[in-house]
């Protein structure tokens, strides 16, 4: 298959970036999007040009490192799935494909298609530790967890932290990410001792990083490769209201 790529090239955050056109001929339909970029890069290197910088790691949709906005959609047109799980057969022969990095103000630009998503890590750090016993696995029935709660906790824990939610959000909001992180511990008894402080701290860390506010457009859940539901945002709103109330009473 043959493609024409329009790729965002920018040396650093100090310089102005622009979309540069590249031809990508002779691509197998079974090539993944990232492999296609590898092939294009090899050809660029052969010609003595600077290869396109992009993030990737596991290339099987579990690490959350790839962060491409393809044809205006975070992770490209195939949802749910990360950019690494996108195959070129999903596109039509001869198609022009635009590739940009994940963009949101808290994602600081590094190079070409690479941005720093440390803001998400700092939200998780703000949540702090849980005071559950570490070490060898406890006896399975010592802490009963209802099936429904266990299921929801696992659903929320599926978040791979890629940041597609914030990149796709018209408000640059990381509510889906934060809601998944707050919810998966809030559903479990092990997460209960720090439930109040965790919700409050993570929300204020999210605001401090400069993420926007949720206006319920649900773009986030549409692009989420882990299929995190926006109903977790409602859960976060509940947790935050509950925590604010508990804090008021506590003080």
């Amino acid at each position: 298959m043959n493609f024409r790529l329009r790729v965002w090239r920018q040396k650093s955050s100090d310089e102005k970036g622009r979309l540069v056109d590249y031809d990508a001929p002779d691509i197998s339909p079974n090539t993944s999007f990232l492999e296609m970029l590898d092939i294009v890069n090899e050809r660029l290197i052969e010609r003595g040009e600077e290869p396109i910088a992009f993030d990737s790691d596991c290339r099987e949709g579990i690490c959350g490192t790839c962060s491409l906005t393809i044809n205006g959609e975070a992770h490209g047109p195939s949802h749910p799935g990360a950019a690494c799980q996108l195959y070129m057969r999903r596109f039509t022969d001869g198609e022009t494909i635009t590739v940009e990095p994940f963009r949101a103000r808290p994602f600081h630009f590094i190079k070409d298609l690479v941005v720093n998503r440390g803001a998400l890590d700092r939200i998780v750090q703000a949540g702090g530790f849980i005071s559950a016993r570490a070490g060898s696995a406890p006896e399975a029935n010592s802490i009963p967890v209802p099936k429904h709660d266990a299921d929801r906790a696992m659903e929320a824990a599926a978040c791979i932290g890629c940041g597609a939610c914030a990149a796709a959000c018209p408000n640059g909001s990381a509510m889906l990410f934060t809601s998944a992180k707050v919810s998966h511990l809030a559903f479990l008894p092990q997460g209960h001792p720090e439930r109040v402080t965790r919700a409050l701290r993570m929300v204020s860390a999210m605001d401090a990083e400069g993420f926007g506010n949720c206006t319920n457009t649900y773009e986030c859940e549409a692009v989420c490769p882990a299929e995190i539901s926006a109903s977790f945002i409602a859960k976060l709103n509940r947790e935050f209201a509950r925590a604010s109330f508990a804090k008021k009473l506590g003080d």
Partner: protein
């Protein structure tokens, strides 16, 4: 949260106001006495008006503030394709501001009554009450007035098709199963409100509702 709560207050007002207005189809006797009852509330009516005014101001103040923050936070893409976000959800500020302009006009038109000189010629109805019925009919006989009214109601329905159900999400009063249902109900309610409000100028322009008195 403040946006959601004030939004609900305003949606309830919009529904109540619609039910009041639809009494025009029951004839002058009904709607004139309804209007008289409202006016007889006296101080209480002003309390309601003040309450609504505060709700409107808070709703606008916080949404503008949010819109500025959100605009600052979002990435500036060269190309962006909405995947799921509805047209309504992406244009809440636009629809909201035009509705605000309409509210100013609407109050000047029917409440303060400064825009239409013919309203001054209206006589009291046989029971010596203000003839709201004829005022509405004469008001809507103007095609431009009616057209702006219908446009504003269209934008209101658009605004509410996202806003009416958004409330549940913002306050966390839903779950995975309930969310799509609430969204559907919200859209249906929004467009019922549109049909309800629009039916009045349409009926007047078609001549189905005639003034109770000649000017």
């Amino acid at each position: 949260m403040i946006v959601a709560v004030t939004g609900v207050i305003l949606v309830l007002f919009v529904i109540g106001h619609l039910l009041g207005n639809l009494q025009i189809f029951l004839g002058p006797e009904w709607i004139n006495s309804y209007a008289q009852h409202l006016r007889d509330l006296g101080g209480f009516l002003w309390a309601i008006r003040l309450f609504l005014l505060i709700a409107v101001l808070l709703h606008i103040y916080y949404t503008i503030w949010l819109a500025i923050e959100n605009r600052r936070a979002r990435g500036s893409y060269r190309e962006r394709e909405p995947v799921k976000a509805s047209f309504a959800s992406r244009h809440m500020a636009m629809s909201g501001l035009i509705i605000l302009a309409f509210i100013f006009y609407h109050l000047a038109h029917f409440t303060v009554r400064v825009t239409d000189p013919r309203f001054a010629l209206l006589k009291a109805d046989p029971l010596n009450r203000y003839d709201v019925y004829s005022m509405m009919v004469y008001g809507f006989q103007n095609v431009i007035v009616s057209a702006f009214y219908v446009l504003a109601m269209f934008l209101l329905a658009l605004h509410l098709s996202h806003g009416a159900s958004s409330f549940f999400q913002s306050l966390g009063l839903n779950d995975k199963k309930l969310t799509p249902r609430l969204a559907r109900i919200g859209r249906v309610v929004a467009w019922l409100i549109f049909i309800g409000y629009t039916s009045i100028p349409v009926a007047v322009l078609l001549g189905l509702v005639k003034p109770a008195q000649q000017l």
